[in-house]
């Protein structure tokens, strides 16, 4: 029988190679259909009406004039008079009309009066937050006071990251259509299977009546796990009108309400001995993720400094609610830790690379991986050649600097079920209700199936993005590739074994003596005793083989380490920071497709440059409004803002044999910290918070006295 364990390196024909994503051609020719593109007969357009106030009580809602507007077919009140709204953009009602323009007119015609209530929208320190501050219990390990007494050098600093948003290019939204009591929703979601239950519960209908379809997905980054208020409202509008309704968030709505990454700030004290050995850490952290935000803050990040004390205060604010953003809280904790430690290295007069290497022993389970990665990264960055002590002393306004950071993430695999079918005509189908966010999930599934059957990639048809296929978990936490690759491998191996059993008699051997390679079934290692794949499948007569498989923990793993190094230039006259080069060294177990894996790391670095230098959700305390819910002033990096990026994946013995581990989160964690450290190295002073805007760079320089 064929074994489902991953093939050894020499036996891999597709796994671990560089393969172009399968949906590349339809995407790059504009023929990929996203939720936003779905066309249905009689389609209506939905539009949300949102609260213009950060905190208010709804006094009255009058929809009568809106209902009389041309083209209006349905109105759905989400929040009624008497209820509170807690942020600008909270959903109040939705309308559906024949055209997008008519729906917008109708939304404007709704009359709502509010009683304004006190708000807080600023990212303030706990002392200014009054009863909005909620303290978590302090965590203490070892004896921090003794640790600081032991230290030869200590630093104190303040570090932080602002609230940023997800800004998915395909905004959140869906098309809802009823056929009798059955609801079909085309949704831009990371959670095809999970949305079934959410719609069923929200609409009080049986889950069996709900079908979710996600043909293609225009970005989620952790913000698209829910049916959402607007999804349920869209379904109600559709029910009311008796016609399908498309309701996608407008760009300002997307930035106001469809996802934010919490801020985290901290005051830190850290101490080390003269040789760089870390002895003590103390941090008081705070931050906001809207009215409520979950999750804790564990500082320091990665470094298990023997004596440490940390506290965290959650501040409740009237901004749009937080959603998971790639590697929740890790980029912020990474920045606070790596920046403080780099400041400490500078205080000791040590090269940050040497300082980090000195402390590898307290980096936990992946310590040796970090050591190898730091050395590899230093080689690719030419760290020792380029590094200089704090403050580039060369003449001219352009100062260059180097910085580094390390990160960790879990992975594992989400629950995944897969059906694999071999048809008598030799074609193969793999079906599971996962979704491809642009990470390459579709391609990975095809690679695993084709590898298992010894077939070319294009022989496999992949069916995903439909809740009618076997259930798969949400795509979050870098769990998708582990889930789908292992369920596909198990299903494909089972299907193959059924086929081998059918074919074995004709070759006069036992099924266990057969293998599938190069488009045929043959006696293991003997191509002279073989039968072509198509002929083998013809022996099935009229009945296809369908076998199922589930996530298999022995094929996957969890827990990765990665390091990143950044080289920046800073114009000390304008304060403008440019990312010149980044090196990313990443471990993620067995890489299934090197090409799309590298793309993930490239993309994560670029997203990292973006939040390091440009992104911030700006709120105005006087009005409670968000000042930049658009793409002119909510800035994303452009193609010219990105320097060179070099990616090195840690593969081979010691890595491949761990099995498959996801890659969506890890490489997006370090860029902010590495860039912040590089700027400090360039200009000789820490810019305390991200984004590192020209204004903040100039302020830090001024505080220091001007020159780098």
């Amino acid at each position: 029988m064929a074994d489902y364990q991953w093939p050894q390196a020499d036996d891999r024909s597709l796994i671990g190679k560089r393969i172009s994503r399968l949906d590349g051609p339809i995407k790059s020719s504009g023929r990929a259909t996203y939720t936003y593109d779905v066309q249905r007969p009689g389609l209506l357009f939905g539009k949300l009406v949102l609260s213009p106030h950060a905190h208010a009580r709804i006094v009255s809602i009058d929809t009568s004039s809106a209902e009389r507007m041309p083209g209006v077919q349905a109105v759905d009140v989400i929040r009624d008079a008497g209820q509170e709204v807690l942020w600008v953009g909270q959903e109040i009602l939705a309308v559906a009309a024949e055209t997008d323009e008519q729906a917008r007119d109708a939304a404007r015609a709704v009359k709502i009066t509010y009683e304004k209530l006190p708000h807080l929208v600023s990212d303030v320190e706990p002392a200014q937050a009054g009863d909005r501050a909620e303290e978590e219990a302090e965590q203490v390990t070892g004896d921090p006071d003794a640790g600081f007494r032991e230290a030869d050098a200590t630093i104190e600093g303040r570090y932080g990251s602002s609230v940023i948003t997800h800004c998915c290019l395909e905004s959140h939204g869906q098309v809802a259509e009823w056929e009798g009591d059955n609801l079909t929703v085309w949704a831009s979601t990371q959670n095809v299977t999970g949305l079934v239950g959410q719609y069923a519960e929200g609409l009080q209908i049986p889950a069996g009546n709900v079908r979710i379809i996600t043909p293609m997905m225009g970005g989620g980054f952790g913000s698209k796990f829910q049916a959402d208020t607007w999804g349920l409202s869209c379904a109600r509008l559709s029910k009311q009108a008796g016609r399908p309704v498309k309701m996608m968030l407008e760009r300002d709505q997307e930035l106001l309400v469809a996802g934010a990454r919490p801020s985290i700030h901290a005051r830190v004290r850290a101490g080390a001995k003269r040789d760089g050995t870390l002895t003590a850490w103390s941090s008081q952290a705070w931050g906001t993720g809207g009215i409520t935000s979950r999750g804790s803050v564990n500082l320091p990040y990665i470094f298990q400094i023997p004596n440490r004390r940390s506290s965290y205060v959650r501040v409740s604010t009237n901004i749009g609610p937080a959603r998971a953003w790639r590697a929740p809280r890790h980029p912020q904790m990474c920045l606070i830790t790596m920046a403080a430690l780099e400041d400490l290295a500078a205080e000791l007069g040590m090269d940050a690379l040497d300082f980090f290497l000195k402390n590898v022993g307290i980096m936990g389970a992946r310590a040796q991986t970090y050591r190898q990665e730091l050395l590899k990264g230093a080689e690719l960055m030419e760290w020792k050649k380029k590094w200089h002590p704090r403050g580039d002393q060369t003449s001219g306004p352009n100062k260059r600097g180097l910085g580094l950071a390390l990160h960790t993430w879990g992975g594992g695999g989400h629950q995944s079920n897969c059906n694999c079918t071999i048809h008598p005509d030799g074609s193969v189908e793999v079906s599971l209700a996962s979704q491809d966010l642009g990470t390459g999930t579709r391609t990975v599934i095809a690679i695993v199936a084709a590898e298992t059957f010894g077939l070319p990639l294009d022989a496999v048809k992949v069916n995903i993005g439909d809740s009618r296929y076997p259930p798969s978990g949400p795509s979050g936490g870098s769990t998708t590739v582990g889930g789908v690759s292992s369920s596909t491998r198990r299903a494909a191996t089972s299907a193959l074994n059924e086929l081998l059993a059918k074919v074995a008699p004709s070759l006069g051997v036992e099924p266990g003596q057969l293998e599938a390679v190069d488009g045929r079934i043959q006696v293991i290692g003997d191509s002279s005793k073989s039968i072509a794949w198509k002929q083998a499948c013809a022996k099935l007569g009229t009945t296809p083989i369908t076998a199922s498989g589930r996530r298999s923990r022995d094929l996957i793993s969890s827990g990765v380490g990665g390091i990143q190094m950044a080289e920046v230039s800073v114009d000390i006259e304008t304060g403008v920071v440019k990312m010149e080069k980044m090196v990313a060294v990443q471990d993620c177990g067995l890489v299934i497709d090197v090409k799309t894996a590298e793309s993930q790391v490239h993309g994560a670095c670029i997203m990292g440059v973006t939040y390091a230098l440009y992104e911030e959700k700006l709120m105005d305390e006087a009005t409670g409004l968000c000042l930049n819910p658009d793409m002119e002033f909510y800035k994303l990096a452009g193609i010219g803002d990105i320097g060179e990026i070099e990616v090195h994946m840690m593969t081979g013995p010691g890595y491949d044999d761990r099995g498959v581990i996801g890659l969506g989160e890890p490489p997006v964690i370090s860029p902010g910290a590495a860039i912040s450290n590089a700027v400090a190295n360039a200009i000789g002073v820490r810019v305390p918070t991200l984004p590192l805007t020209p204004e903040k760079v100039l302020a830090a320089l001024e505080k220091k006295g001007g020159a780098a």
């Binding site: 994503r21 020719s29 504009g30 023929r31 293609m216 642009g438 993309g603 193609i639």
Partner: protein, 216 residues
């Protein structure tokens, strides 16, 4: 950031400095400006037409020539070319993202020039030659730029991709042999969120070579 607020003279969307620039275009004919206001040689014609024949605010019949085919449709004058393409004609390759001339996801060619379809009114696109991503190559075939995007994995979620492909094709049309730095400047009118710029730059340079080889 380089592509905006850089103090340099405005560059057009496809990196050319000839003719009407993107920024001037948006300044003058941004979606809030009443229909009929145009610039350059069309101005006099438009003024004369406006005086004789005020259109709207109700729907008006128009004809758009898209990918070589004429389409008759009825739209209110305020409807953008992008919404006409997507919502009236089901031509959905151009994407709606920022809806105000910042991100380039809606890029189409109008008379061979890359423009933001979200910031041109459909009625103003009459009489012009409109090419969308779907018109770059027949279905089932790949334009050399699209093929280079596949080979260099210049796409992840793919939502910005059609806009980038059209912008790249227009850029290469005017700069058939660009340098790396010219690519970085010339494609500055489009934005990607997944972070595909590394592959994009390689794809643009590679596509230039393919098109020189007579593939276009």
């Amino acid at each position: 950031m380089d592509k905006r607020d850089d103090g340099k003279p405005p560059a057009s969307h496809d990196g050319s400095s000839r003719g009407l620039s993107r920024r001037d275009f948006i300044k003058v004919t941004g979606a809030v400006v009443p229909a009929g206001v145009l610039v350059g040689e069309r101005l006099l014609h438009a003024e004369a037409a406006a005086a004789a024949d005020v259109v709207g605010p109700g729907a008006v019949p128009i004809t758009l020539r898209i990918n070589g085919t004429s389409h008759r449709l009825s739209v209110e004058p305020r409807v953008t070319l992008l919404d006409a393409l997507r919502d009236r004609l089901a031509i959905t390759g151009a994407k709606k993202v920022c809806d105000r001339a910042t991100c380039g996801a809606c890029t189409v060619l109008v008379d061979s020039k890359a423009i933001y379809a979200c910031s041109m009114l459909a009625i103003d696109a009459q009489g012009r030659d409109i090419v969308t991503i779907e018109g770059l190559a027949p279905e089932g075939e790949l334009h050399p730029v699209s093929a280079a995007f596949v080979d260099h994995d210049a796409q992840q979620c793919g939502f910005c991709t059609p806009g980038f492909v059209v912008a790249t094709a227009a850029f290469l049309h005017r700069h058939p042999d660009p340098t790396y730095e010219e690519v970085k400047a010339g494609l500055g009118g489009n934005l990607c969120r997944c972070g595909t710029y590394v592959g994009l730059r390689q794809a643009a340079l590679d596509a230039a070579q393919r098109m020189k080889g007579g593939l276009a």
